[in-house]
């Protein structure tokens, strides 16, 4: 969707994924399957000399072994950033996540970009995502010659999104931790696309949170899906999730804290720097995710 939007604006699009892309969209000039930390990626940079590099492919799926996630997210990202500089790209956009702040009972509202990243204290499995972000942050301060934007969006949802939170909202029966309903933010796919496109075409650089309209309680979001709600004692839920990750990647265990404690981010800096505003309401964001349109 980001590619389609940029193609409409006259950009030529080259796609790279570490997985096989079965049906590349029409607007893409070329698609490569390449690990970000292997040599093929440099060939792609050498051949196409991109003016803008959008590094949106952080691997969040815990099914991948930690070693592979480290290779792709940390070593691979480092390589993408170094190559962007080496081959003269004019702008770099890196997509991180707000998960790295961690949902915690001590979180104030809202959380700004310069605050500590608590997620790793309780869930070391997220270490690669934190290092991915920290590395990009250090990089953007060291290499001012290449304007870089590091984005930390909240839960991204929408009819075409297939991430953990969207799949969870589409369940017919949704388990919720008994007695908790933290304020939660969602951003619709159209809004995050507009944010990424804005960051690509804009002039500001730095690290920015990106959120949707306004936070709503988690139970209100679940109610909007129309699913049956099953309250579960949170200790039992956490235990089940930890056990399930041994056999399936369906749900990262750290997510349970996002249904118990708040992790509300401030995106005031992004709104001001890129004159961006979310257009889709919370209600529409959730309902369209479930209905698929």
């Amino acid at each position: 969707m980001v590619g389609a939007s940029l193609a409409e604006d006259g950009f030529r699009i080259v796609g790279v994924d570490y997985r096989k892309v079965e049906h590349p969209p029409d607007y893409v000039e070329a698609v490569y399957r390449a690990n970000y930390n292997k040599t093929l990626i440099e060939d792609i940079f050498r051949r196409h000399r991109p003016t803008h590099v959008l590094h949106l492919g952080r691997v969040g799926n815990l099914k991948e072994q930690i070693g592979k996630r480290f290779d792709l997210n940390v070593l691979g990202s480092r390589k993408v950033m170094d190559l962007s500089l080496k081959y003269g790209a004019g702008r770099l956009v890196v997509l991180s996540t707000f998960h790295i702040y961690g949902a915690h009972p001590r979180n104030h509202i809202p959380i700004y970009e310069d605050e500590p990243l608590r997620a790793g204290t309780e869930f070391p499995q997220i270490a690669d995502a934190i290092q991915f972000d920290n590395q990009a942050l250090t990089w953007l301060h060291r290499h001012r010659a290449l304007p870089t934007v590091l984005l930390r969006p909240c839960h991204v949802v929408g009819p075409h999104i297939n991430n953990t939170i969207s799949r969870f909202l589409r369940l017919p029966v949704i388990p919720v931790p008994m007695g908790f309903s933290p304020m939660t933010q969602f951003i619709h796919e159209r809004d995050i696309v507009a944010a990424i496109v804005g960051a690509t075409k804009g002039e500001a650089s730095g690290v920015f949170n990106v959120a949707g309209q306004s936070p709503i309680p988690w139970l209100e979001a679940v109610a909007l899906t129309g699913a049956r709600v099953v309250p579960v004692p949170s200790s039992l839920g956490a235990l089940a999730l930890r056990a399930s990750t041994r056999v399936s990647s369906a749900f990262p265990p750290y997510m349970i804290n996002f249904f118990k404690f708040p992790c509300v981010i401030s995106d005031v800096a992004f709104r001001e720097a890129f004159s961006w505003r979310p257009r889709v309401t919370d209600r529409e964001a959730i309902v369209s995710t479930v209905r698929g349109y």
Partner: protein
């Protein structure tokens, strides 16, 4: 509709909301809410009416006499109170006093202890009614949005006081003073008389507190006579004294010693108000 106990309680609370002017007071509050009716911290004015109706039952139970409510200035203000009574009835009474007797009605956002956030259901009720985690950034953001904030700088050392330390202020933290200086906010001292006698504790049973993961485990003197009923608050009368606003100037990141002197001015004023309030009181029940 069938007259089940739940329906009857609902009807009774709606009557309380209307008769007690709770609805009118809440509707007049300048709260910015989103399309689903929430502010960013989780306050939901419509649901808060129900919780305030419940709170008003306790408010009536304690029959508070409110003095100096007119001292609360418009806009941002820090209400600094003495903490007592094991359970936060003092916060409830001050909040309801501001809501029901303030002109215009004010909703001081109580800053709650960090362990409330992990208590199932209670965390939801507190957020919907406007309580916010006691954190400097939460407090700063709310003050900059011209809210009234209710803080108890003694923290759990205040609320968990035993009988022999009643009405003696535990040491105040410096955080509230730094926030007042940073946000140019007046401080209104609030002396709360009655809280200490509502639930009396003669001993803090620390091993039990550690086991229950609570900040303290009070032992009321009549616990062995009446069992858990000893934790039901006694029908004492509260007297709430709102003092004149105090303004402070200077850098918020000044040395601790400088901040301590300013904090001392507040504790001295508050202790004097407490002592005067107690001297005027003829009986804990009148």
């Amino acid at each position: 509709m069938e007259e089940t106990p739940a329906v009857m309680i609902g009807k009774a609370l709606r009557t309380v909301i209307q008769r007690g002017n709770i609805a009118k007071a809440v509707d007049s509050l300048p709260v910015e809410i989103n399309e689903l009716g929430y502010d960013p911290w989780g306050l939901h004015p419509d649901r808060a009416k129900l919780y305030f109706a419940l709170a008003s039952l306790f408010y009536r139970y304690f029959r508070p006499v409110v003095h100096g409510i007119e001292n609360i200035p418009d806009g941002r203000v820090l209400l600094v109170g003495n903490h007592s009574g094991q359970l936060p009835f003092d916060g409830l009474v001050v909040t309801m006093a501001c809501l029901l007797t303030g002109t215009p009605p004010r909703l001081p956002r109580p800053m709650v202890e960090r362990w409330f956030a992990v208590l199932p259901y209670i965390n939801i009720v507190f957020s919907r009614a406007g309580a916010v985690l006691g954190d400097p950034i939460n407090c700063r953001n709310l003050l900059e949005a011209e809210n009234a904030i209710l803080v108890f700088p003694e923290g759990v050392k205040g609320s968990g006081k035993t009988w022999k330390h009643r009405y003696q202020l535990a040491p105040f933290g410096r955080g509230f003073m730094r926030l007042a200086l940073q946000t140019n906010t007046p401080i209104v001292p609030v002396a709360i008389i009655g809280g200490e006698e509502s639930i009396i504790s003669v001993y803090d049973f620390k091993p039990l507190a550690r086991l229950l993961k609570t900040p303290y485990a009070p032992i009321p003197p009549h616990l062995f006579l009446v069992g858990p009923l000893a934790f039901w608050p006694l029908p004492v009368r509260f007297h709430i004294y709102f003092g004149k606003p105090m303004t402070f100037t200077g850098p918020f990141d000044d040395e601790d010693e400088v901040i301590d002197r300013k904090v001392e001015e507040v504790t001295d004023r508050l202790q004097a108000m407490i002592d005067a309030g107690r001297a005027k009181r003829r009986s804990v029940f009148r």
